[in-house]
Symmetry: D2
Amino acid sequence: MLVVMGHDATEADIRRVVKVIEEMGYEARPMPGKQRTAVGLVGNDGKVDSSQLESLPGVLQVIHVTQPYKQVSREWRPEPTVIDLENGTRIGGTDVVLMAGPCSVESEAQILTIAHRLRAAGATILRGGAFKPRTSPYSFQGLGVEGLQLLAKAREETGLAIVTEALEPETVDVVAEYADIIQIGARNMQNYPLLRRAGRTGKPVLLKRGLAATIKELLLSAEYILAEGNGSVILCERGIRGFDDHTRNVLDLTAIPVVHALSHLPIIADPSHGTGIRSKVIPMARAAVAAGADGLIVEVHPDPDHARSDGAQSLWPEQFEELVEQVAGIAAAIGRRLAPPLAGVPA
Amino acid sequence: MLVVMGHDATEADIRRVVKVIEEMGYEARPMPGKQRTAVGLVGNDGKVDSSQLESLPGVLQVIHVTQPYKQVSREWRPEPTVIDLENGTRIGGTDVVLMAGPCSVESEAQILTIAHRLRAAGATILRGGAFKPRTSPYSFQGLGVEGLQLLAKAREETGLAIVTEALEPETVDVVAEYADIIQIGARNMQNYPLLRRAGRTGKPVLLKRGLAATIKELLLSAEYILAEGNGSVILCERGIRGFDDHTRNVLDLTAIPVVHALSHLPIIADPSHGTGIRSKVIPMARAAVAAGADGLIVEVHPDPDHARSDGAQSLWPEQFEELVEQVAGIAAAIGRRLAPPLAGVPA
Amino acid sequence: MLVVMGHDATEADIRRVVKVIEEMGYEARPMPGKQRTAVGLVGNDGKVDSSQLESLPGVLQVIHVTQPYKQVSREWRPEPTVIDLENGTRIGGTDVVLMAGPCSVESEAQILTIAHRLRAAGATILRGGAFKPRTSPYSFQGLGVEGLQLLAKAREETGLAIVTEALEPETVDVVAEYADIIQIGARNMQNYPLLRRAGRTGKPVLLKRGLAATIKELLLSAEYILAEGNGSVILCERGIRGFDDHTRNVLDLTAIPVVHALSHLPIIADPSHGTGIRSKVIPMARAAVAAGADGLIVEVHPDPDHARSDGAQSLWPEQFEELVEQVAGIAAAIGRRLAPPLAGVPA
Amino acid sequence: MLVVMGHDATEADIRRVVKVIEEMGYEARPMPGKQRTAVGLVGNDGKVDSSQLESLPGVLQVIHVTQPYKQVSREWRPEPTVIDLENGTRIGGTDVVLMAGPCSVESEAQILTIAHRLRAAGATILRGGAFKPRTSPYSFQGLGVEGLQLLAKAREETGLAIVTEALEPETVDVVAEYADIIQIGARNMQNYPLLRRAGRTGKPVLLKRGLAATIKELLLSAEYILAEGNGSVILCERGIRGFDDHTRNVLDLTAIPVVHALSHLPIIADPSHGTGIRSKVIPMARAAVAAGADGLIVEVHPDPDHARSDGAQSLWPEQFEELVEQVAGIAAAIGRRLAPPLAGVPA
């Protein structure tokens, strides 16, 4: 439930609304906006009698949020959420953002080489796994904190922002220390302690849709992060489980306009995991942008044939350059643009 | 298996290859091409000893087709199939083709009204069901032959080509009499007697992917049509069964580049059935073209709220005009163009 | 909608109800029962005003059927449908029926050999494909009418009833001439002209669930047969499409109690197609009977390694004997029994 | 890779094998068995040259494990794993084990009442959630440690063993302190830090299959636990995501014989989550046992209509009694028996 205050509502009016909500046994969340302030009533509001709130001074209207997710819904917040990164990248506005990099951080040479290439090609965010969730316990599990340090070094040299995955609540804080965006992977979409801890860091969170997750479940997982007071969530469609072995997953691009209708949060697409095949990444990157994606996250490796993970779906750097050119054209065709490349000379 | 003849192979050389193949107990299918002639050996060729064929005069090489589908494969025919309709529309080349119209033909006024609107908007092919496959026996089943006659009248008035569905082998011929393209619906993708009969008409066939069909199964169903000597097949991705009720189906756009890699046949997309929601048709139409679709088939109705079937996913005519404008931009961004509108003044 | 007549309703009362329904523009279907007669109102009855019917003499009550399927629903007919075959087998009562045989009829020796083995093991119905729907046009397509004749010969020699598939409307009548039960395969579950034609033969119809069919869609397809006045429909769960390649399909056994709750029609299971692996057929046959299946249809071949189709999932005859023994124990444990073996000496 | 020692191999022989494996850069895991000792070589063994090991004294043979999962495979350990609980229950042998209880522990009265009923009905293991993973952040999240204490009290009073879920690595140890079996829920099947931490406790782990997990992925997740030296893993089929809303999930019972063929680990079924509907729990419990399940985990609540979670799928206590009776009959029919009820008078 959302209590919308009028233009002329005073601070005292707002405080009174908060107090009444709390007396009713719920949590109140004031949300100052450009035009007006609203106060959210958080929790299962099915049984709340709104008349008590409607009659308070300064209250314009009370909006009942019909979905089980509340703060992520468009009813709660009609304008799109825009997330500003320190390097100037804005996610969720008219810009289409490019995140790219290797599946795993493997070495200083690898990550620095690719970071420079990607920056030159126009990416503004560097992806790279330091903690890797691997299906087999015998596969390479990532460089851990050393990987995070190498990512930080790449940021220092190039200005690229860093997105990297956190696997467990205990290491969220160390990831948050190095990353600009904390990634929650598809396998952990319903790892609620992890979501909560990531929410509490206050850092932007990239939340990937689980392989069998409905859109409602995705939004409810995002709600866990917003319920911690962190509204900087970027959703990501990365393919759902399918029955055809021609592709690794089924990239469900319709999820993009569906999410945009239901939620104010930005949503990007991952054509690398979504297809699992290098030659399909570029066409599906184009399709994702055409469908309205607010960005892409793409696996690019300086030498995919020798990648320690996900080589078969990683682009060669020159393919990424081609991707940038093609999606720039698509973005322009629908009245958007790629997020502007970083200014200045890299170190 | 494909026996490729050299540039200087004579008619007698070709006849000898045919004869040897037939003596081996297989069927031979000569395929004269622009550059060279090839002779296909049709049937399960796993055990064929190709050495006998390789040594015949005029034979350049023998290509083993590794897939269970043969004539639909890129190995069999490297260049894309282009299908020329009488009204000048070319399907499978660089043009992106627009097929549009109501789910069902309902009346003369309805189909003529919409046909004129669609032609004016730039479509060159009119869709409309006369024989409708309906999940319930108590739903409207289409106008039958009367529907076909109304479609023919719309073609006469507007020049639009007609695509309409055939439901059973017995009525394929009557559909072929009126239609420029015979549609085989998703429910009938593995209705083999229907595929065979459609193949024998020689008319172009639009084959929709079944809800649970793998791409291999789709191509093998197309093979049934080519095996009848009819190479004019247009494939169509129209959504697979999914687990999320936000959309009617999951539009699997990755199927488009996958099919293009495996087969020379054109493939289009149906964002109407693929999403089931009017507001998602335009973004997914854009995405399909960005992914490389050779065309779109879209449900448009003059008055969707009163449509006798599929109203919820049918566009209003003005939305179709918007769709055309948007996909034209996408096509241009990837170096293609919309199929040129029909010239001349409609009757 | 179902108009239930009182015990003392006269023939004239019933005729009047029929007349009023027809005057309302619907079709009336009188259904004399053991205890009472009911008159079904067929068609979309969402808008029918039932008060007119309720006040007619002899009318006890008017039941609104809430599902889109009508005549297949439990609301329409509370008692289970029991189908009596000429050889004494009863499908849909307390007996658990065994249908078994090869995927395809291959030769007289093959079908007679296996028929005798199966009869001796306790099966009462012989399965065998004469018209085969094959994914590839180059695979063995069945012996056609010759296959039907061989099945008839096997029936003559053993007394086993025959179930075999019809693929197209045009050949339904010839299949009906030879078969005791007409099978509609999973690929044709929504081939409505075929369903209608099979319905019109009056013969029992075995309707297999499609790979991506919901239970509602399965019941609506059955409704097409009942709408032709043929109530002898046996449903069959045979596996739905899944994402795991350890099995060919996912045998959805919960469909059995779900169907029993929604419909009065019998439902059997096909553990051969449902798993696709010989070693999994017996455990899943046990599970199906434990879940409440009214019968099983199982592929058994005298020499599976040389079967012309589906060899990998066909049981050896001795495995079928083991299956019979095991499912007999399961049936007994839940208060049912296997359908009694055929009496008398086979020719 | 598994190095199998001969009957007459000495301790020194075994130590030498361990040493050589470690010198090769792998981890060695000696596994003393009843008949013979084996030494496992853990890690990706694709490139290992086994000849060096084969020639060592005392080595009988070297078995290459062909699957990506190693220690969970039947190749690694041919005999079934049997897990002995302190209260005498044995999981994985011929006994079929019954785990039952409410979705969530709600109060002392609730859990003690149901525990006594379940013990009287024949269950030997009590389930009940203290830490609950809930799709919505606003749903009841469980009583936490208080819930664990109530479970312990129920064990004290009834002798029932306790199975309860751990949600995050940090609380695994406190769960292990109270529980006899640590449950890893479906959402956490690929939460690798959680699997590792649960493995390290040495306590038996109940690992539920994820909604979209293949059987290979399930076994690889189990491998994470075995890789920590903990072989007491019980797998659980609890339904996969499906497309039909008649059931909450699709209970994939074929997974049971498939797992038994691939792995030595026991596997049980959860017909409550697998169907989501109270009336389908008993038939699917019967089917699971008929398919070969080593046990069942069933939701039972003293008052399902007022359950704080999963009420719609929870059995009434008297329904559980009926379930016990029915599955006892099924177990007997396949030569198994229910695990014997606990002896002695409960406190």
